[in-house]
Symmetry: C2
Subunit: 222 residues, 2 copies
Amino acid sequence: IRKVLVIGAGQFGRALALGLVEGGADVSVLDPREDRIAVLSSRISQAIIGSGTDVRVLRGLDVETFDQVVNAIGEESLEASIVCTQLLRELGAKEVIARVVSDLHKRIVESLGATRTIHPEEHTAKTLARRIARPELRSELELAEGARLLELALPEKWIGKTLADVDLRKRYGVTVVAVRTGSEGGRRLVPSPSPEDPLVRGDELMVVGPKDGMDRVLKELG
Amino acid sequence: IRKVLVIGAGQFGRALALGLVEGGADVSVLDPREDRIAVLSSRISQAIIGSGTDVRVLRGLDVETFDQVVNAIGEESLEASIVCTQLLRELGAKEVIARVVSDLHKRIVESLGATRTIHPEEHTAKTLARRIARPELRSELELAEGARLLELALPEKWIGKTLADVDLRKRYGVTVVAVRTGSEGGRRLVPSPSPEDPLVRGDELMVVGPKDGMDRVLKELG
């Protein structure tokens, strides 16, 4: 079982702590506000009232015994976030994941030794921007090493064609790994679809490939 | 070209506006703070200094002419976010996407007619929680209608087996649609992998299927 300490129980810290509990982790949360700690106390293994910038509090928690420490302070104070990151490193925390609120904040905590940073507003804004700018792009996933997966609503111009006709593999080096098809209610996922089956209105294509090939597919769709 | 109005140029609104510009949308941004508007003005089509809670300002913008209006006020004031949502609906905005900061906030703006809501802290916290609680889960994507895609590091117990041996399709109704394999630098994505090829340490599997089947796969992995 992974042992995780979350410092800061604002919106992000609280949602994170509950998500971790759901995922089976052993979760401790530290926050100076009693009301924030009270709502979590019955659902996590350790709910501690105290400040993440107080070295005595952090020392008492044995931060080095946690697999991960998430510094979720970002929302309230840049200074507090920075101080907490520095103290966690000094006290030997193994992995420090810091919530950041700007690029400058990110560079500072990375310089101090945060192993990973996360910027919720930017992360979510990017996802939403793609969805608004490209409604045919149902969803999208960055895979490792520059690969990407897209879920695309079948474009008008491909209706009635087959995957062989469209030939994304030869033209862009990307592969349709699955098609979702059928009417509402009776929809099914067809993995490894046949290149000869005609595509019909309402189909959704799951396409995998390198980022540049994907960009060219999206460009073709206008 | 999609015409989008973003109200509020805080972290979320700013990242959203820039993401939309990158995606090819025609973007206008409204914020009462001149410094926030100034940094955006050269990159968007309309940068307006003014309040999203001022009915005269909103009327002057012709909100009904935008394909989407994103109310990104959430960070500063619940009241302002609520007032802005109500005014947007009264002025005939077609689609109102509201950034929310809590479940209660979400229910309020939905009652007022927001067509979509987005909660950045919760959205990002859930993603991070899964990644921390399940390090073998490289990434994850909710697809439409209860389907899901996972990218999994090959578990220890499957090394040397084939996809036919593991037989996820029969046991859980899920399909391995692609395998990423090879050494650092020479890694390649193999779509529609052969059921008879042995899996090797370092492989990553892209698995698609219904949510309940996926949960059972993850459970088997412990």
